[in-house]
């Protein structure tokens, strides 16, 4: 068994990325194949028909339905605003005029002489889908949406919360093993995607919300801190992450953790990639679903075309002597190293479990034995 089967998180300086953008109802696609789009470009739109409001006009004015037509100041098809004069009686010798002003907004769809009612349809609710990433429209799905394609940097995290957002990448820590604390987040981080190192504290999560940060990308988060923050932000004292279907939380920023729960140094390669992207606009999404058909959170930085596409990095592959690895479980969780031996026979580890192991030299110089299942291969 020479292979490592890691969750296959991609960390790539340049790869090809595609995103499906689909309306919830049939509507109109506003772009064409080949169009260049920005993250905020509306690529498809539909309108939810407004509700019909019945205005009992004759009744409200105390007149007979048959008298209504002569009093009306509007006609079918007119745009109606709140407070607009709908009808006015002539009164007696020009005095004691009786009038009615609209309580609703919309379009006058019908006038019933029989009942004296008006039908005003409220304005439709526009529903729009933006492009989420900067790129090119690759495919148009008629009446439904588009597939946007771009070349860019992609960092997949292991877990996240919060939905789609954009922001400029800003580093708040100078090393991947530095923790992100509240004091490091300043008003300058408003609208930014803040990159930390090994951990984000509860205080920093609160501070990010205060200053209006768009996102946080960090190695780890202590489960209690995240849950406490979410319970507070969502005003739900019982909130918990059960089977980890996230991305819908109505919180003010998006969090992507790259390594796991606890304080875990961000992989150097991931940190360096994010460092190299500082100042660039990224799209971020915390949506995670951990089950067959998995969805992982992501940070995407679209880049101009023409660069060399990198092979998919940090995905499962063959383990060999010298393969750089990261340990993904205690007691060496988060530590990098390289494979020094791959014994074929099963080995009994401290838990007394007989497993296939590898021997590795860790970056701190220690030589250790680790179950093969507990490492992931990292790109050079």
């Amino acid at each position: 068994m020479g292979s490592a089967y890691t969750p296959g998180l991609t960390v790539s300086a340049r790869t090809r990325i595609e995103k499906l953008r689909r309306l919830p109802l049939k509507g109109k696609v506003l772009v064409q194949e080949g169009d260049q789009v920005e993250p905020t470009t509306i690529v498809a739109r539909t309108e939810l028909p407004g509700i019909m409001q019945t205005v009992r006009l004759a009744e409200n004015m105390g007149i007979e339905p048959s008298e209504l037509m002569s009093a009306l100041k509007v006609k079918e098809g007119d745009r109606i605003e709140k407070g607009m004069l709908l009808a006015q009686t002539k009164g007696l010798f020009g005095l004691f005029k009786n009038e009615y002003r609209s309580q609703v907004q919309g379009t006058l769809e019908f006038i019933s002489e029989k009942t004296g009612h008006l039908g005003v349809r409220q304005p439709p609710t526009p529903i729009e889908k933006d492009a989420y990433i900067r790129g090119v429209v690759k495919t148009v799905i008629p009446e439904e949406g588009v597939i946007i394609q771009c070349e860019g940097a992609l960092v997949q995290g292991i877990f996240g919360v919060g939905g789609e957002r954009q922001g400029i990448i800003a580093l708040a820590c100078d090393s991947p093993d530095a923790a992100l604390t509240g004091t490091q987040i300043t008003p300058a981080h408003q609208g930014k995607i803040v990159v930390g190192g090994s951990n984000v504290s509860l205080d920093a999560l609160k501070r990010a919300a205060e200053v209006g940060a768009a996102g946080i990308v960090v190695g780890g988060v202590v489960d209690r801190d995240l849950i406490e923050y979410l319970r507070m932000a969502l005003n739900d004292p019982n909130y918990d992450i059960g089977v980890a279907i996230t991305g819908q939380e109505p919180i003010s920023f998006t969090l992507v953790i790259t390594e796991g729960f606890g304080t875990i140094r961000m992989a150097k390669r991931t940190f360096q990639l994010l460092q190299s992207l500082e100042g660039k606009t990224a799209s971020i999404n915390g949506a995670t679903q951990i089950r067959a058909g998995v969805i992982r959170p992501e940070v995407i930085v679209p880049l101009s075309l023409g660069g060399e596409i990198e092979a998919q990095a940090a995905s499962g592959g063959e383990l060999a002597i010298g393969t750089p690895i990261r340990v993904i479980r205690e007691p060496y969780f988060g530590i990098l190293g390289s494979v020094t031996d791959l014994p074929a026979e099963l080995v009994q580890v401290e838990s007394e479990t007989w497993v296939r192991v590898l021997e590795a030299k860790l970056e701190d110089g220690r030589k250790v034995v680790v179950p093969r299942a507990n490492v992931e291969i990292i790109a050079g």
Binding site: M1, S3, Y5, T6, P7, G8, T10, R22, P24, L25, K26, T46, L48, T125, I127, I158, F159, V222, D223, R224, D240, I241, G242, V243, A244, I245, G247, Q248, G260, F261, G262, A287, Q289, I290, R291, A292, G293, V294, R296, Q312, S315, G316, I328, R329, E330, P331, F333, Q348, V349, E350, S351, E352, T353, W354, V355, V370, P371, A373, N374
Partner: protein, 606 residues
């Protein structure tokens, strides 16, 4: 069928894919080797057959046979002694747990009933959609798409009541155009449990777009709730459409000699066979990464053996581990740990197991944490089983509505631990525990067997494969099961009652000696196999004399003479009392746990 001499069988679990090679050696079928590899349902593989090939590759290495063709398929039929196999079979539960959306007309009425039905079927509810929930239709549509439910339960309207609102719900589903999570071409299962009069127009709208199944209205009148038919439909559809599905499933379907069977169906077959052949009552469990399946054969009042099977779709040791945490709470997991650990550390560990489900505990403390979680998962899944286990499931009997409504009462009378003859444990955490005594303890703590119960475990986690094999080649399945699969741990004697620490609880006269076991302790008498460390277990008579306030099946204080069976652990006398209560004081609790573990021969130092 020409003579089958070699069989390869795989079980694709949510986390691990297991492969076994069975061959006919002389006149009998035996397990030759096994291999395993992580299940590959995640990127970059997204194809369950990759994990199958990896597991089979291990079997190839260990057996010296060539089983995979140059095109990367399983070689069948066998070409010669060293190439290929006569039969290739597979079971699957790779699709993982069940996450549902329930939809109803009135949030506080039908939607709430639907929610109860889904929860009762072991599902996680990821959203409750109601006509009156305050959201716009398009928001609901978007939500369904984002959440990718595995199944939708649609309810609303009393029989003869509203039709329009149900049609509106159906229209919303048409707009959402929901696709199954794994996008395998099949339609999304939708269970309709609403006003029967509204079904025809709903069917007209949804036909061909979803896999629609109608069951009885779960709220036929305002005052009446009828959850059972919906629960059963959820359960069935989960097994048929969700659990066994995974990316690459259709490819795997073309490799196998017979259709792929869902893992719980396969294990259920084995459990039924054990109960039938030995004429005993059985409680079986298969604890996986995403789900925990519980099986039982108990006798009803008429003395008939009744088989029940439940799948707790979100209790498991990897993908679902944090749901065990949510349901059991940290303190209940922590109570089984013989050492101090901060809540934060425990929670971080479990979250990390969830996000990296294929990792293995390297340290003893990590193993103990997983075994503590397993006790809670086993307990919760058993509670679920008890709530659903009734006298009617699985046999051909007609059910009246009255009986259906009295399900809880019927279920409670059916699962009687004092009448239970045998517990069979399967699944990674039980089959692969480094010491068999650890498996015995997990089952004793979680199930709290009463009286006299034989404990057994699946040796290497191969019951699913033997279950499907039994449908095609019963002889091979039975021989391998008896010789290579079922591991006898030994008989557990557990008096029911509560006493004071150290006071007399039970005396056991056994093999010419009398062992007195005080309350609050465990005592193990070595009692193994007829020859060597495996094979036919020893059997001998034991006279059990419980103290005045304790019962071992013959009534309080009344002695009982039974035949006990030996095993790897031996004769386990569990005098901790029933119900089992752990000391409230932390230091005392840790001391007791260590004492019990030591008695069982389980290391407790970390």
């Amino acid at each position: 069928m020409s003579e089958v001499r070699s069989i390869l069988a795989t079980d694709c679990g949510s986390t691990t894919t297991k492969a076994i090679l069975i061959e006919k050696r002389g006149s009998e079928y035996r397990l030759i080797v096994r291999g395993e590899a992580p299940t590959t349902v995640e990127a970059p593989f997204d194809d369950v057959t990759v994990g199958v090939i990896n597991a089979v590759r291990e079997v190839e290495e260990l057996s010296g046979k060539r089983l995979i063709s140059p095109e990367g398929k399983i070689l069948t039929p066998a070409q010669d002694e060293k190439t290929g196999v006569d039969l290739y079979l597979s079971t699957s539960s790779a699709g993982g747990g069940l996450q549902m959306t329930v939809a109803g007309v009135v949030k506080a009425m039908s939607a709430e009933s639907a929610q109860r039905a889904a929860l009762g079927a072991g599902a996680i509810i990821i959203d409750v959609i109601a006509v009156d929930d305050g959201r716009k239709d398009y928001q609901k549509v978007e939500r369904i798409r984002q959440l990718r439910p595995d199944m939708i339960l649609m309810s609303g309207g009393t029989d003869g009541g509203t039709v329009n609102h149900l049609v509106e719900l159906a229209e919303m589903l048409v707009s959402a155009d929901p696709k199954p999570r794994l996008g395998l071409g099949a339609n999304l299962p939708v269970i309709y449990a609403g006003n029967k009069d509204a079904f025809p127009p709903v069917q007209e709208l949804l036909d061909g777009r979803v896999e629609l199944r109608q069951v009885e209205n779960l709220r036929p009148t305002l005052e009446r709730e009828n959850l059972l038919p919906a629960r059963e439909a959820i359960h069935d559809l989960f097994l048929e459409h969700v659990m066994q599905q995974a990316p690459g499933y259709s490819k795997l379907s073309t490799w196998v000699s017979r259709g792929i069977m869902s893992t719980p169906n396969a294990v259920g077959k084995i459990m039924q066979t054990i109960a039938n052949q030995r004429n005993i009552t059985v409680l079986g469990v298969d604890i996986g990464g995403a789900t925990t399946d519980v099986f039982s054969v108990f006798r009803n009042e008429a003395g008939e053996s009744i088989f029940n099977r439940t799948v707790s779709a979100n209790l498991g040791m990897s993908y679902s581990i944090c749901n065990v945490l949510t349901e059991a709470k940290t303190e209940n997991i922590n109570r089984w740990l013989p050492f101090e650990i901060s809540e934060a550390e425990l929670r971080n560990q479990l979250r990390n197991k969830m996000i990296r489900p294929t990792t293995i505990p390297q340290r003893r403390m990590d193993l103990m944490i997983e075994q503590a979680v397993s006790r809670e998962a086993l307990r919760l899944a058993f509670d679920h089983h008890k709530s659903l286990a009734r006298g009617l499931t699985g046999i051909q009997q007609q059910r009246t509505i009255g009986e259906a409504l009295s399900q809880d009462a019927t279920g409670k009378t059916l699962v009687n631990m004092m009448d239970l003859d045998m517990i069979v444990g399967s699944g990674g955490v039980l089959s692969h525990a480094p010491r068999r005594a650890q498996s015995a303890m997990m089952m004793m703590d979680a199930y709290q067997p009463e009286g006299v119960t034989l404990l057994t475990v699946d040796s290497i986690f191969m019951m699913p494969q033997l279950g499907i094999l039994s449908t095609i080649h019963e002889e091979a399945a039975t021989q391998v099961f008896e010789r290579d699969c079922l591991i006898y741990l030994g008989t557990c004697i557990a008096p029911v009652g509560i006493g004071k620490e150290g006071e007399e609880c039970v005396k056991v006269q056994f093999q010419g000696e009398t062992v007195s076991v005080p309350f609050g302790t465990i005592s193990v008498i070595p009692f193994g196999f007829v020859s060597g460390d495996e094979g036919e277990p020893k059997r001998a008579e034991a006279v059990i004399e419980p103290a005045r306030n304790f019962d071992v099946g013959a009534g309080k204080g009344r002695h009982r003479t039974v035949t006990v069976t030996g095993g790897v652990v031996g004769l386990m006398i569990d005098a901790r009392g029933r119900p089992l209560t752990l000391p409230a004081d932390n230091a005392a609790r840790i001391r007791k746990l260590r004492e019990w573990m030591t008695a069982m021969g389980v290391p407790c130092e970390v």
